[in-house]
């Protein structure tokens, strides 16, 4: 990597860090430090290959980020927390009372998904990619993407419906008082 390439890389990082941070931040469930770590590691990998990257480097960076996120989580899970099947119970008295609370429930539910499922949803809802595009980026079959998305949405839907019901109940009680 010569001086010119290093300068070009630096300009790219300065210009695109925030856009890439958005992806890393959403993937890590809003953990700023983990997002910075994830992105910095991806940038370092890209730097090592910078002379060989042709055209727009951003898609390449995103691919590294998604791959690293999924494989890193699996490899280093035993050093970190492992989310389990069941979602956190909201601590009393944070029963959702309006739409902002519903979004909070949804956000927590999203954060509790296994990494590949979360990656699929982020690609679909943040990046607006099709099933085929997600499959190509993650390096798996479209059918796998579809089933991961279905599983993830089913979990979120359960939480969302329960929270919506609680909101409705709260509203009714409030209206009767």
């Amino acid at each position: 990597v010569d001086a010119a390439a290093e300068r070009e890389f630096t300009e790219f990082v300065i210009a695109r860090t925030h856009a890439l941070m958005r992806v890393a931040y959403a993937l890590t469930g809003g953990d700023q430090y983990a997002a910075e770590d994830l992105l910095q590691a991806a940038l370092a990998k890209a730097f090592a290959r910078w002379p060989h990257i042709r055209g727009d480097a951003e898609p390449y960076l995103k691919k590294i980020i998604y791959h690293d996120y999924v494989s890193w989580w699996r490899r280093w899970r035993h050093r970190r927390e492992t989310p389990v099947e069941f979602l956190p119970e909201p601590a009393s008295p944070t029963v959702p009372t309006d739409h902002s609370d519903l979004r909070l429930v949804l956000r927590e539910a999203l954060a509790s998904l296994p990494p590949r499922q979360r990656a699929v949803l982020v690609l679909r809802y943040l990046e607006d990619l099709s099933t085929d595009e997600v499959a190509a980026l993650l390096g798996c079959r479209p059918g796998t993407v579809a089933s991961q998305a279905n599983r993830a949405l089913a979990k979120l839907r359960t939480q969302f419906v329960e929270a919506s019901q609680q909101t409705a109940d709260t509203t009714t009680i409030g209206a009767g008082q």
Partner: protein, 387 residues
């Protein structure tokens, strides 16, 4: 588009929009330069080995094949390696093994005990575990396989339901012990006791204090240890390990460090039976398991704070006599793995990575690399056990 769809889209965009800007230029350049340097060293080393292979391989063929595995360890009296050329008399390449040729033997009496695909497209996961009874590797549908030290059981992780089970390898049966997680739904990975009869796990409630459980692999009975969490135990990146057969260890977090970037200064020890504190081990970093100590207990492989995943690769070999780091381990991105270092002599260890097992000296120089079986066509998480 239904209501969940629209709300989820809002949530994801709202979440992404909360990301703060960060200046990552200097860090990315520093880390990237190190990757370039490491690759150059690896290329140079490979070229050197290839040149010697012209001499070494015919000599091996004349002797009738691969040398005894233990002969590669250098023995307890071997001196620390000082340069890549010091060990070029090692065979340059081993015949690529397969899973059908019995246990994959390595120096120091180690064998490949399990392997798990890191980037499988299979939702359930794919792993292999060695069955001592049949002397074969058994394919299992899990995303993690952690064999016990005795090789009788393996902890398996069901990636679909996110739970750990105990696989009885000989009988091919799995039991799923209950691990309380409070209201958080999170726990650290389990660690086998040295006798392979129990495992410890750290439950990480979102509300309230952490809990350490010791669970019997056969009966599933669990014991919760009463720990005084007012002490300076770990915060993030917390994990429990066995110091010896009756003692557990937790990282000691420097109270002055940030919660999200904790600095560790050794380990807290406590009784695996009662949770009563048994003292501390002062080290300039944290170690992941007792396996990180050399057999003579002079050296220990440490993860320094900046090496916590997934940032850096500063895994040092710390000399407890001279109180300095004598070398840094080569290779992989990320931090030290609790199950990635396997000492085979006082001055040599095996390091597992995604594609190979490497014999490494105290100075971190790779002495020899052992290829993984043909069946491991993708990156694997490999765990070694004693033969």
């Amino acid at each position: 588009m239904d209501r969940l769809d629209s709300q989820l889209r809002e949530v994801v965009h709202e979440l992404a929009g909360q990301a703060r800007s960060a200046d990552l230029v200097a860090g990315a350049l520093r880390q990237g330069r190190r990757r370039v340097h490491a690759r150059r060293v690896a290329v140079a080393f490979t070229a050197g080995v290839a040149a010697v292979a012209l001499v070494a391989v015919p000599a091996l063929a004349l002797r009738g094949g691969r040398p005894p595995a233990d002969a590669l360890s250098g023995g307890a009296s071997a001196r620390p390696s000082t340069s890549p050329t010091a060990h070029l008399s090692q065979p340059a390449s081993d015949p690529t093994p397969t899973l059908t040729t019995g246990p994959l033997a390595l120096p120091g009496g180690w064998i490949v005990g399990s392997a798990t695909e890191l980037n499988t497209n299979d939702e359930a996961g794919t792993g292999w575990v060695y069955d001592r009874g049949s002397r074969t590797y058994v394919k299992v549908p899990y995303t993690e396989v952690i064999p016990s030290p005795t090789g009788q059981y393996a902890l398996v992780f069901d990636g679909v339901r996110a739970r750990y089970g105990v696989l009885d390898i000989a009988h091919r049966t799995v039991t799923w012990p209950s691990i309380p997680t409070g209201k958080s739904g999170a726990y650290s990975a389990p660690a086998w006791s040295p006798d392979g009869r129990t495992f410890a796990v750290l439950s990480l409630p979102k509300y309230g204090t952490f809990s350490v459980y010791v669970i019997d692999a056969v009966t599933g009975q669990r014991r919760q240890l009463g720990l005084d969490w007012s002490r300076d135990y770990c915060s993030d990146f917390c994990f429990v390990s066995w110091y010896d057969s009756s003692t557990l260890a937790l990282p000691h977090a420097d109270p002055g460090s940030k919660a999200n970037a904790p600095a560790y200064n050794g380990m807290h020890l406590f009784s695996a039976a009662t949770g009563v504190p048994k003292g501390t081990v002062d080290l300039p970093g944290s170690y992941a398991s007792p396996a990180n100590w050399s057999p003579d207990h002079r050296y220990v492989v440490l993860a320094t704070p900046e090496s916590l995943p997934p940032v850096d690769n500063r895994i040092g070999v710390y000399d407890t006599q001279s109180h300095r780091v004598v070398g840094y381990l080569p290779g992989q991105s990320g931090a030290i793995d609790a199950l990635a270092v396997f000492w085979c002599a006082d001055d040599q260890m095996l390091i597992t990575s995604a594609t190979t097992v490497s014999l490494v000296g105290l100075d971190g120089v790779t002495i020899h690399q052992y290829p993984m079986p043909l069946e491991f066509s993708t990156e694997q998480w490999v765990i070694l056990v004693k033969q």
